[in-house]
Symmetry: C2
């Protein structure tokens, strides 16, 4: 690794954190349901036929009406993300049957791998003549990236090296193939992902060469002349022929260091920004910082839904214009919010800063986990902020990128909770958990006891074999007005110890030292910047990190007839039955009355409004009960 004199924070390996409470419940669902469902669906989609050399190649299978599976150039990524999910689930909850199924797939990949290390199933079994011919569209390095991530996870969880070794061989081939040397391809993938994967591979193997390859991909992207133009000329296609494939679509329109505006396909953008942040951390490369910070502000100040959903348009699965955030037609792909969590987490690599961690939490608790049903069995691909009752959780999707993506995030969430430097532990996310941290001064076990996010009281306990000096940095979310902190009962003045939104406590810690943090969870009413025309005159409710919504099942038909005035101050919380302590908010509202309208579609009469009570529930739980209407942005009563 590159040497550094500045702080470099890396996430904890997944097995170093035991998660309970809120995230523990979600992880249980992934262990008990999702992990196996992912594999089942992959099998139904005929993915194994594509990779198993012991069965005949299915050839090119085109999706049809009444879909029964197909071959696909990105199937390896879906299998990989499923294996990655299984890996994390095995660590939490041993499951010999599931582990055997994963091992069998890994064995198939071992048999499939070519002598030179190449391992893309579509370009071994279906289209060998097209190997490496279309980096822009064919997802080869993208698949390699996901397989690398899966191999790292499987090694960490099980100790088995086979998959990791397979992927090191493939990564070695990629090192040979790609670069600026003679005979090498000076290209990079149209769908970014391998960059962040190579960083993970380098961290787990200690091999600098993988880090350097990641850096090459980051450095090379968008250099002129653009690789994809030459590639198109060689292939005989129009480099601008397909709308979705202009260079902005995959962030190759400029060198990454020159980019200031978040554009194109949302997931691709999140993945490459994640890779950039990793490289900035690992190489202490400040030349990436201006781009990263500008892109961060561009996204979070102009292009992000309150839920942390991003990419409003289905047409490019990505970004449109500033402040264009339609609610009902929001694309806001689950994968994109997952990707935002990835990026935010990596922006913490240069040091804790709630600018990133608050948004990580916001995307995680809302836009991301809304993509998985609470029972772990069904999924959302799109995450609108308003629906008339036609949008329900999917069993599966033809482009099934989202289910394993949210599943692997949930199953590995412990890794996102903590950032660790030589002499410092930063707590980015709160939740019942135990973390084992190797610092330069020795091992520290940090325990959180909390009902967060339902309750804001968090008790942290330090366990050390001997008194150890290190800094413990706790995030104080920007929304947590009146937060309070105390060590062993002794209250600290937050302002004095807080930098970049983290309360930093550097001292010699002794076994049993305890820190008590209180984050007031007061429901608050948010407005959107008036430039967001779709939210004008509307108000959203958050409590802690959670965005709330109205659902038809709790309220009568016609959610847009509800007006929120000053009722939030008189709201009450209640427990939602059958959701492990999840908190609803019951609040006084006005409700416009439709009676007296008769049959007219348009009339001069103004509606009357009557007092009513509305129930709001966490957005991430919508559509987990009865299907029906849903609304995040309530109409605001301007003059209550």
């Amino acid at each position: 690794m590159a040497q550094s004199t500045t702080r470099q924070f890396r996430p904890l390996p997944v097995p170093s954190v035991d998660v309970a409470g809120f995230w523990g419940d979600w992880q249980e669902a992934v262990c008990d349901e999702t992990a196996a469902i992912l594999l089942d669906r992959c099998v139904e989609a005929r993915m194994l036929e594509q990779i198993d050399i012991n069965v005949p190649s299915p050839g090119l299978v085109i999706p049809v009406v009444g879909w029964l599976g197909t071959t696909q150039m990105f199937w390896d990524s879906d299998l990989a993300k499923s294996i990655e999910t299984i890996a994390y689930s095995l660590y939490r909850k041993p499951n010999p049957e599931l582990e055997a199924r994963a091992d069998a797939i890994i064995d198939m990949y071992e048999r499939l791998q070519e002598p030179d290390g190449y391992l893309g199933s579509f370009f071994i079994r279906i289209w060998p003549e097209e190997r490496w011919t279309n980096l822009r569209d064919f997802h080869e390095l993208y698949c390699a990236g996901h397989m690398i991530e899966a191999a790292v996870a499987y090694f960490q969880a099980t100790g088995k090296r086979k998959f990791l070794d397979i992927m090191c061989r493939y990564a070695d081939l990629i090192i040979e193939k790609f670069g600026r040397g003679p005979g090498q391809m000076r290209g990079y993938c149209g769908h970014e992902e391998i960059e962040l994967a190579l960083v993970r591979l380098a961290r787990v193997t200690g091999e600098q060469k993988y880090m350097d390859l990641a850096r090459y991909f980051v450095d090379e992207r968008g250099q002129q002349p653009n690789y994809f133009i030459d590639e198109a000329k060689r292939g005989g296609w129009d480099p601008k022929g397909v709308q979705a494939h202009v260079f902005e679509y995959n962030q190759s329109h400029q060198p990454l260091r020159d980019q200031r505006k978040v554009v194109g396909h949302a997931v691709r953008a999140m993945y490459i920004y994640s890779g950039m942040a990793d490289i900035a951390t690992e190489y202490n490369d400040d030349s990436l910082t201006p781009a990263l910070e500008a892109l961060w502000n561009d996204l979070t100040q102009k292009q992000m839904y309150l839920t942390g959903g991003i990419g409003p348009a289905a047409s490019n699965e990505g970004f449109t214009d500033y402040y264009d955030l339609p609610n009902e037609s929001a694309y806001a792909e689950t994968c994109a919010s997952v990707g935002l969590v990835f990026w935010a987490n990596r922006m913490l690599g240069r040091g804790p800063n709630r600018l990133y961690a608050d948004t990580m939490e916001q995307a995680l608790y809302n836009g991301a986990i809304a993509g998985l049903s609470r029972d772990g069995k069904t999924f959302f691909y799109e995450n609108p902020l308003e629906r008339a009752g036609k949008h329900h959780l999917w069993i599966w999707h033809r482009c099934p990128c989202c289910p394993p993506n949210i599943a692997r995030l949930v199953a590995s969430i412990g890794s996102y909770m903590y950032g660790v430097a030589d002499h410092e532990i930063a707590v980015h996310l709160y939740g019942e958990s135990t973390a084992r941290v190797e610092l330069s001064g020795g091992e520290v076990t940090l325990t959180q006891q909390t009902q967060y996010p339902w309750d804001g009281a968090i008790a942290l306990t330090v366990a050390v074999a001997k008194p150890t000096t290190f800094a413990l940095s706790l995030r104080i979310p920007a929304w947590a007005k009146g937060a309070a902190i105390a060590i062993d009962g002794q209250r600290l003045e937050l302002d004095d110890i807080t930098t970049d939104g983290y309360a930093r406590m550097e001292r010699e810690w002794h076994a049993g030292d305890s820190v008590r943090l209180d984050l007031p969870l007061v429901p608050r009413a948010l407005r959107a910047n008036p430039k967001v025309r779709q939210d004008a005159g509307r108000v959203a409710v958050m409590r802690g990190p959670l965005v709330y919504c109205l659902e038809g099942t709790d309220n009568a038909v016609g959610l847009n007839s509800i007006l929120l005035g000053d009722g939030l101050g008189r709201s009450q919380t209640a427990t939602i039955p059958n959701f492990n302590g999840a908190i609803a908010i019951d609040l006084p509202v006005l409700r416009e009355v439709a009676e007296g309208w008769g049959d007219a579609l348009y009339a001069e009469a103004a509606p009357t409004a009557e007092p009513d009570t509305a129930r709001m529930v966490p957005y991430h739980l919508w559509d987990n009960r009865e299907p029906g209407e849903m609304l995040v942005w309530l109409r605001a009563d301007r003059q209550p």
Copy 2:
């Protein structure tokens, strides 16, 4: 024709009405610009190559990026509607060059027509083997219908019979081919249109057989077993394979008399309902009335935009759910509003009723003419009620059905203004004009002097060769609170003489008799039924038949920051420069102030509002000046 003892109202032939004033200006634009532009664009689209047997067949030409024209199975309809427009324009304004171009096309069709009368260019020149094989998708009878309408119009305007004779030969072949007799096809077109065209052909030729064929198509549609199932079986395709082609899409899911819900492709629906209404009128067929009335209410009470736009969804170019009327993504195709005008006009065939005429006027002045720029040079295909400034008038469209459809409507508008029965003239629409009407008692010339729709004062003068007894029925729009009427200065009590919203004055009329009608044009604020969730908390402004909108060019950026309270009562009218007396409404509003927001996308602060003045202009004139934002439904200030 069938005999009748009840009132049967038929529209006046286009040459019987001279139009001036508001519609005269529009017709000038069509004569001077649109008529020639339509032909030019048809030529650019390579339509003539498809029909001209003196040039080689272009074969099947697929649309490509950087489109340079193509062959198409519906090109005949676009040429026909263009010729129909030219026909009406020639009547108003002789143009030998344009007439020669139309004659040349008619000559091409004469040469193209097969000995048996068949005349579908695509199935003569491109795909002869597919003739009549796919009535559902291939538009053959639809094209025939438009060509019949064009032939009727060209005959009426020029007196030339050639095109009419050509189309009678084709219609005779269709009579031979289609029906319930032995050896006949018991089918009908997937895209309705020929039904209403055959009625026009019967009326102009006096041939009952064409009327009977129209009746057959109306009677047969949706009968079981469904024709399209057998057709699909013969063709070897899945009758339900394509989503857009389920039977509701083309209104063949049930016999028409059983239908009560407006479904499917909006233009198709309007055309067949028009044909149904024509048949009801011509045959005094009351068995169609329950369906027609139920469908009318279904459309206008649950599925129509305030503009008379219909069909909110692009996916099926048609209807979705009740009360689903999204503003920004509204499809609301120009052709569909034109079709609604057609249908409404034909619902007046059994007698004047403002239930139909008010909506005819609403669709005409808003959703329909918004599709044509005021200078006659550019077009809208979709007619949203809100835009962020990305939606501009088209030069042309690949499926160019709308430009000639709105052009032919404008050019023939006189025909829609008057309904005539044996002893009665009904004035459905007001506007500066002179109509020559043949009644049983003799010819009557009726003159309207008015600045309508900018001013509500209408002076009608009767000219007769000798005193003549007939009824003159004037529509009193439902919105015209305080309307007043007087004959020769003598005020009448409206309530005493009004039936179904028409003031009926039956008397012996003498030359020079005058009627004065005053329709107060007071701006009014409309609300949508609370079930329309997209319009909740919003208000729209109408003045007379015109829907008004905000445009960015008159108001600062951010139209959704404008709140309308009680300002309408204090509004003032003003003339919009360069639009022939068109009236704007300047009204006091509140405007939310965005200052102080800084960079945050979401914040807890509520915006403040300041008094401001907003200018509203007629919706049909939007995008005729500077491009930019547009908004019909303003935010309502609930408690001003």
